[in-house]
């Protein structure tokens, strides 16, 4: 594109500058400003108050719970996403379109509603409520409910990344591996998985970011019990509602850090994947 654009699509310099200025201004106001604000508010009472807010036991408990929920939800969705993408891309079966639509369901449904569904299913008044109470199992207002809600809202990420890549690659290489004597697992680990590794990693990063940041669904099933069922986003909300702005923003800056790490990882994966597509030896 650069420098070689034909005259028909070349804009004048002033138009180009205006467009860039609008885009930059928008990014500054809606993205950069909040980031700066979060940090400056968190540090408003000095570094000592910032660290105190992060070292507080409830904050540490919230961080642990967030990491735990992500540590369960991400591998679960990794396995699910791989199997679903595999089935959809490599086989023909009845109900394929339905499965594709269902995978998108968490994107379509408001997270609050997905949280409510779990309350209606597993809550004390819900379908399985009496049975669960009888067996002394707690799901709603407890860690299992938070994990379930997180799995639900992060369901589509891995599968959605993999399906187009796998569909485009087809089944030729797997068939070739079979004619060469490779078994199912050998084919999977030596042919299929390496072919989708960048898409898979990308999906996992996005899935992880959402798992750690999820608010709506988790908020409904959590019950907001401090130190027990509060995740980081919920902890931020509680602190803010208590007019403890410094602590709220300090904890929020942790989540922001996670988001930035995710962005860097995402950019790195994209560039690696692109290079792999052009000259495979660079990424081998």
């Amino acid at each position: 594109m650069r420098g070689a654009a034909p005259p028909a699509v070349a804009e004048t310099a002033s138009v180009r500058r205006t467009l860039i200025a609008i885009a930059l201004a928008f990014v500054a106001v809606s993205l950069v400003l909040p980031l700066v604000l979060v940090l400056s508010q968190g540090l408003a009472d000095g570094a000592a108050a910032y660290w105190a807010a992060l070292r507080e036991p409830d904050a540490i408990a919230a961080l642990k719970l967030t990491l735990l929920a992500a540590a369960i939800a991400v591998p679960a969705n990794l396995v699910f996403g791989l199997s679903a993408a595999w089935a959809i891309a490599k086989f023909e079966f009845k109900g394929k379109q339905l499965l594709l639509t269902l995978i998108d369901l968490p994107f379509a449904v408001s997270p609050v509603i997905s949280g409510l569904i779990y309350v209606l299913l597993f809550g004390l008044q819900g379908w399985f409520g009496p049975w669960l109470a009888e067996h002394d199992l707690k799901i709603i207002f407890a860690v299992p409910g938070i994990v379930l809600a997180t799995i639900f809202v992060t369901f589509p990420f891995v599968a959605r990344e993999l399906i187009p890549v796998m569909q485009e690659q087809g089944t030729d290489e797997e068939e070739a591996a079979a004619t060469l004597g490779a078994g199912g697992w050998q084919t999977f680990f030596r042919v299929s998985l390496p072919n989708v590794k960048w898409a898979l990693l990308y999906g996992v990063v996005l899935c992880n970011a959402r798992a750690m940041g999820e608010f709506g669904a988790v908020s409904v099933v959590s019950g907001h019990i401090r130190g027990l069922t509060n995740t980081l986003p919920l902890h931020v909300e509680i602190l803010y509602n208590e007019y403890n702005a410094v602590a709220a923003f300090a904890v929020a800056s942790l989540l922001m850090g996670l988001a930035l790490v995710t962005l860097v990882l995402k950019t790195w994966i994209e560039s690696r994947a692109q290079r792999a597509a052009i000259a495979p030896e660079a990424a081998a």
Partner: protein, 259 residues
């Protein structure tokens, strides 16, 4: 190894791909399945390889029924129209793949694998390209890598699906005569699928003309041109120059081979 295709039928949703096809291929034969697209020739090849399953009928290798034998146990070298090389592996690793996936007790040593890969690289005339990736090769080079990869496992049968279909005319011609020479050196029983009349007549000892899931005629290139058995064969081969009578160095097939 001889191949017998015994009364094989296959239908996909909505159409019959193969109707009671029978064919015998003697050990060391080089047979072309020739026909217009959609005639069932690729389906038949995939059934011989075990990549598709027939609805009825049997496939015999040297008299053994292969119907329930998985592709990976059949020891067929299969060359795909679009190469199907492993895109994240080097040429070297592609060719070595069939040897490295063997169970440990059957796997050759690293040195043996290396020797085999080097031998195949020189056979397909790609010695200098071992460390390249498939995306860095031309179409003709990729197809030769695919062939070397298939040959690495010492297949009893070589199956080629439109092997030159995706190549330009000049490369196609070169590879054609090269394939014929290679077959004369290796004598591995081979079937290749093509819709190109010239290619079938020039390369194969036996041409099987197919149409709409049936075999129209089986014969030497000369026979199918000189004495077409059906109007379809006459029509399908009408715009092709009759082949030169085959050079005597090519051993003629035993007459029972075609029937």
């Amino acid at each position: 190894m001889s191949i017998v295709i015994d009364n094989v039928s296959k239908h996909f949703v909505g159409f019959r791909a193969l109707s009671n096809v029978s064919l015998e291929i003697p050990t060391g034969g080089l047979v072309a399945l020739l026909g217009p697209s959609g005639c069932g020739k690729t389906t038949l090849l995939r059934i011989v390889a075990g990549l598709d399953r027939q609805d009825s009928g049997r496939i015999l290798f040297d008299g053994d029924d292969m119907t329930r034998v998985h592709t990976r146990e059949r020891r067929v070298g299969f060359v795909f129209q679009h190469y199907a090389l492993f895109r994240h592996m080097t040429v070297y690793d592609n060719i070595a793949f069939g040897l490295t996936v063997r169970p440990r007790r059957l796997r050759p040593s690293a040195a043996e694998i290396n020797a085999k890969v080097c031998e195949l690289l020189s056979l397909v005339q790609l010695e200098g390209l071992a460390q390249r990736y498939p995306s860095q090769l031309s179409g003709g080079q990729r197809q030769r890598v695919a062939l070397a990869r298939g040959l690495a496992v010492n297949p009893k049968v070589l199956l080629l699906d439109e092997p030159f279909g995706a190549l330009d005319a000049r490369v196609r011609k070169e590879l054609r005569s090269w394939l014929r020479q290679l077959h004369d050196e290796l004598h591995v029983t081979s079937i290749f699928v093509t819709h190109d009349q010239d290619e079938a007549l020039e390369v194969a000892d036996t041409v099987v003309v197919m149409n709409a899931g049936r075999i129209e005629q089986i014969g030497s290139p000369h026979e199918v041109c000189a004495a077409p058995a059906t109007p379809f064969v006459r029509d399908f081969l009408s715009d092709v120059a009759p082949p030169r009578v085959q050079a005597p160095k090519i051993v003629p097939l035993p007459s029972k081979a075609v029937g």
